[in-house]
């Protein structure tokens, strides 16, 4: 077949167990020179464990890793770097207060050195950024860069350390479609120069676009390895979840009356995160409003406002009349279901039980407490009901929620906020980090709630998700809100331009 010398990295029957759970079960994988291999899998399929073994954070129980024919010493984080493997994490590992150049040199050479070595480093960074199309100014402070630029710095950092193999963990999650295209162009140049790439993603169309081969993991095992040219997105999705899955089919909405109206609302900036800039938005009964935009463009401020965490600085918010008071509890009282962006930090308390988390918002209501005393039996009944109705896989209502997977945690939150029958649903990144099965479940619940007459505000960085679900799409950029575009009236590329900030001047 192919020349064995072409193999740059070989994972051989890697096995890792955590107690009774086998996170990686005899996983074998080869990466050849100039090739892009996509690693696909649901959450909990074992991708992260495999990466941690590769980078020496875990030691495999069995199996071995070879890089360029040499065995990689297990459990040594420096070994992978030294062998020429560079990793670009989903969450960047850059120092905001240093320049691009210093960030790149950080960890390899002393930042105090001046003169010759610094000039040499700069020349090298310049050459690398030219060769790979990674435009970024070496003297810019990382704190002032956009997310896309920061990612370029991460890639430059790996290249600067002579990485011949790049591992990218969900690299497009934080990018606009245009930025993602630029990233792919860079990756194609890297392949042309003989680098090899392992690409971790759950976005099937991207995998189809960039990868030569796909390795699909499920429950810690390799369940399929296919050449991209010979498969389809649907086939890959089926392989990931082990059966054909039906993504929810959104029926056209019949929008009713306005349940919440924001009129010229402005909120103060919060550090680097912009506040809202004269935002006007209607949420109507029976309609899903999708809010697209690159993360950090004011979505957080809008979510905080509707959640009750912040007050409008100017402008007005009305629900059946102007709001007299506004707080998280007031929002709950007014029938707003809030699915927070970060279910671990904001949505749940890790060491609390499912029961305690189920009543975290509603514990003060007559059903769950009386005269300041909790009715734990009623609370547990409520949790049991959610577990049954929302198919939460868990040991029981008394288990700590930290033991649950992200999807099951999200189902509990869904049950908590949807059971009272809300008028308005704020879903902030409701499916981020979930597996395909859980995504379909959460989305179908949101659609069902809309069909039941609720107004849904869906905030997501995933344009596909917005375009698939939303009846009306708004785009946010630097705190400004675009006009609403009806479903299907704009292409992804057109929305991408709005995400990049174009079009607002004409609209304003």
């Amino acid at each position: 077949m192919t020349d064995p010398r072409d193999v740059v990295m070989r994972l051989d029957r890697i096995t890792k167990r955590f107690g009774a759970l086998t996170a990686n079960d005899a996983i074998s994988l080869t990466l050849r020179r100039g090739e892009v291999v996509a690693l696909l899998g649901e959450n909990g399929a074992g991708k992260t464990t495999l990466m941690n073994i590769l980078f020496g954070h875990y030691v495999a129980d069995d199996g071995r890793v070879e890089v360029f024919g040499q065995p990689l010493s297990p459990g040594n984080p420096r070994a992978a770097l030294a062998a020429g493997v560079g990793m670009v994490h989903q969450h960047f590992t850059l120092a905001d207060n240093l320049t691009v150049l210093d960030n790149i040199r950080l960890g390899t050479e002393s930042l105090l050195s001046r003169g010759a070595s610094r000039a040499a480093a700069r020349a090298r960074v310049d050459r690398l950024s030219r060769d790979f199309g990674l435009a970024v100014h070496p003297d810019a402070r990382v704190g002032s860069l956009t997310v896309g630029e920061r990612q370029r710095v991460e890639i430059l950092k790996a290249l600067y350390r002579d990485a011949r193999i790049l591992i990218l963990d969900e690299p497009t999650a934080v990018l606009t479609p245009q930025e993602a295209e630029a990233l792919f162009a860079t990756l194609r140049r890297a392949i042309a120069q003989g680098l090899s790439i392992l690409f971790i993603s759950h976005k099937l169309h991207e995998v189809m676009a960039i990868a030569d081969r796909c390795v699909v993991l499920r429950h810690g095992k390799v369940v399929g390895e296919v050449t991209t040219a010979e498969t389809s997105g649907a086939a890959l999705a089926a392989m990931m979840v082990g059966g054909e899955i039906a993504l929810p089919e959104a029926r056209p909405a019949t929008a009713g009356k306005v349940l919440m109206r924001l009129d010229g609302v402005t909120t103060p900036d919060k550090g680097a995160a912009p506040g809202l800039k004269r935002v006007t938005l209607d949420l109507r009964a029976g309609e899903i409003v999708g809010l697209a935009g690159v993360s950090g463009n004011g979505q957080a401020a809008l979510a905080d406002l509707i959640s009750g965490l912040i007050l409008p600085g100017s402008g007005s918010v009305t629900m059946d009349g102007p709001l007299a008071r506004w707080s998280p509890r007031e929002a709950i009282r007014q029938g707003i279901a809030r699915i927070p962006e970060d279910r671990h930090k904001t949505g749940t308390i890790a060491d609390f039980t499912l029961t305690e988390n189920a009543v975290l918002e509603g514990y003060w209501q007559p059903g769950f407490s009386k005269a300041g005393l909790m009715d734990w039996r009623a609370a547990e009944g409520f949790a049991q009901g959610i577990i049954a109705a929302y198919d939460v896989r868990c040991p029981g209502p008394g288990a700590r929620i930290r033991l649950l997977s992200g999807g099951n945690m999200q189902k509990l939150i869904l049950g908590r906020v949807l059971e009272p029958g809300p008028k308005i649903i704020l879903a902030n990144q409701p499916v981020r980090g979930l597996d395909v099965g859980a995504i379909a479940y959460v989305q179908s619940r949101l659609i069902a709630a809309r069909d039941g007459g609720a107004a849904v505000l869906l905030i997501s960085e995933d344009l596909d998700e917005i375009m698939g679900l939303a009846d009306v799409i708004h785009v946010m950029s630097e705190g400004r809100l675009s006009p609403g575009f009806p479903r299907g009236s704009k292409t992804a590329a057109e929305l991408g331009l709005w995400m990049a900030g174009q079009g607002f001047d004409h609209a304003a």
């Binding site: 107690g19 407490s369 005393l373 033991l403």
Partner: protein, 347 residues
């Protein structure tokens, strides 16, 4: 060296490691005795005998445990909500001052005891309220403010005892006038030197336990302590919860001072507390902030103090051994608890 979290620690680990910590503490105690030139085993025996070896010794231990239960509860309640109250000492003295103010003839039986107890709790609560308001309003670190208030309060007590509250019959000693008989806590059993303050401390421990596990306030306090952001998002009034926690914590600490004056000493002097407020932190930490555990750990700590006192007289080993033992016990226990949740991997 690296720490790997253990998802579900085995029972053997959960019981074995704290037991090991206790053994290690005893080993250190024997070493210290050896250094002091005494027979290690005999020293241990003397500590045990001094703590629980006779009816008198055991009652003394219970008496000593009483203020420690109160301050331990005060710390446990606050720490559970991640409110770092290091000022139990100051709140204790606030309670002691009130016991004297209301107990020297202003009020008569049967009102004096309940009224002065409640007033003491209020005073202790107010002492902690200041730092907590500074924290919730201005973000001032309560560790610093509560800690420093201890010294302010001690100086204030010295001033009171040299001035307005000085006992005219005290032959010049800096102490307050004695409480009237009606203002004293009676003994639980006639003839045995154990006052009702101990029973009250046990009741307080159960009450705190019920509040924490059964009440909405307890639910809020635990939620605020575990994850303030999630509690706020869920609609809990975080600052109000912190203020309520402070009132409860300060009130409990004040009862320590109140019961020492009304139950044991009968007057206020500036050596009323040999650091009960600070020792309360050790008590609470050893109990893992569990209110019923506080009772056990207060008894343990009191036994070490009382036993060491008595051992020191018999064996000539300095009483400082008690402080060293507590410090070692705490360090080993914290280490043991960490090791139940993490596995150390040597590299």
């Amino acid at each position: 060296m690296r720490l790997d979290p253990i998802a579900a620690p085995s029972l053997r680990r959960q019981i074995g490691l704290p037991a090991l910590a206790l053994l290690a503490t005893i080993a250190v105690a024997m070493m210290l005795a050896l250094i002091a030139g005494a027979n290690p085993l005999a020293t241990l025996g003397l500590i045990a005998k001094g703590a629980v070896g006779s009816k008198f010794a055991a009652l003394e231990t219970l008496n000593r445990a009483t203020p420690l239960i109160f301050t331990g509860l005060a710390v446990a309640v606050a720490f559970r909500a991640k409110l770092w109250n290091i000022g139990a000492e100051a709140q204790l003295y606030a309670g002691a001052i009130v016991a004297v103010l209301l107990g020297t003839g202003v009020l008569g039986a049967p009102l004096v005891l309940p009224v002065s107890a409640l007033a003491a709790m209020l005073a202790g609560a107010l002492v902690l309220l200041g730092p907590v308001m500074l924290k919730t309003r201005l973000g001032v670190d309560e560790v610093v403010t509560t800690l420093l208030l201890n010294f302010v309060m001690l100086l204030f007590v010295s001033y009171l005892l040299e001035g307005p509250m000085k006992d005219p019959m005290g032959m010049g000693w800096p102490k307050s006038a004695a409480l009237v008989k009606e203002a004293r806590l009676p003994r639980i059993v006639d003839g045995l030197r154990l006052h009702w303050g101990f029973a009250l401390a046990l009741i307080a421990a159960v009450a705190v336990w019920v509040i924490q596990t059964r009440s909405t306030l307890g639910f809020e306090m635990r939620a605020v302590g575990q994850n303030r952001e999630a509690a706020r998002f869920a609609g809990m009034p975080v600052n109000v919860v912190l203020v309520k926690t402070a009132l409860l914590s300060g009130g409990l600490a004040a009862l320590a001072g109140w019961s020492e004056v009304a139950g044991l000493k009968g007057h206020l002097s500036s050596d009323l507390s040999p650091g009960f407020g600070y020792t309360g932190i050790i008590v609470a930490m050893l109990a893992l902030l569990h209110p019923l555990g506080v009772v056990l750990s207060a008894l343990f700590v009191a036994a070490i103090f009382v036993g060491s006192d008595s051992m020191s007289r018999a064996a000539g080993v300095p009483t400082y051994i008690a402080d060293m033992l507590l410090a070692t016990a705490l360090l080993f226990m914290v280490l043991a608890l960490m090791l139940t949740r993490y596995r150390v991997v040597w590299k």
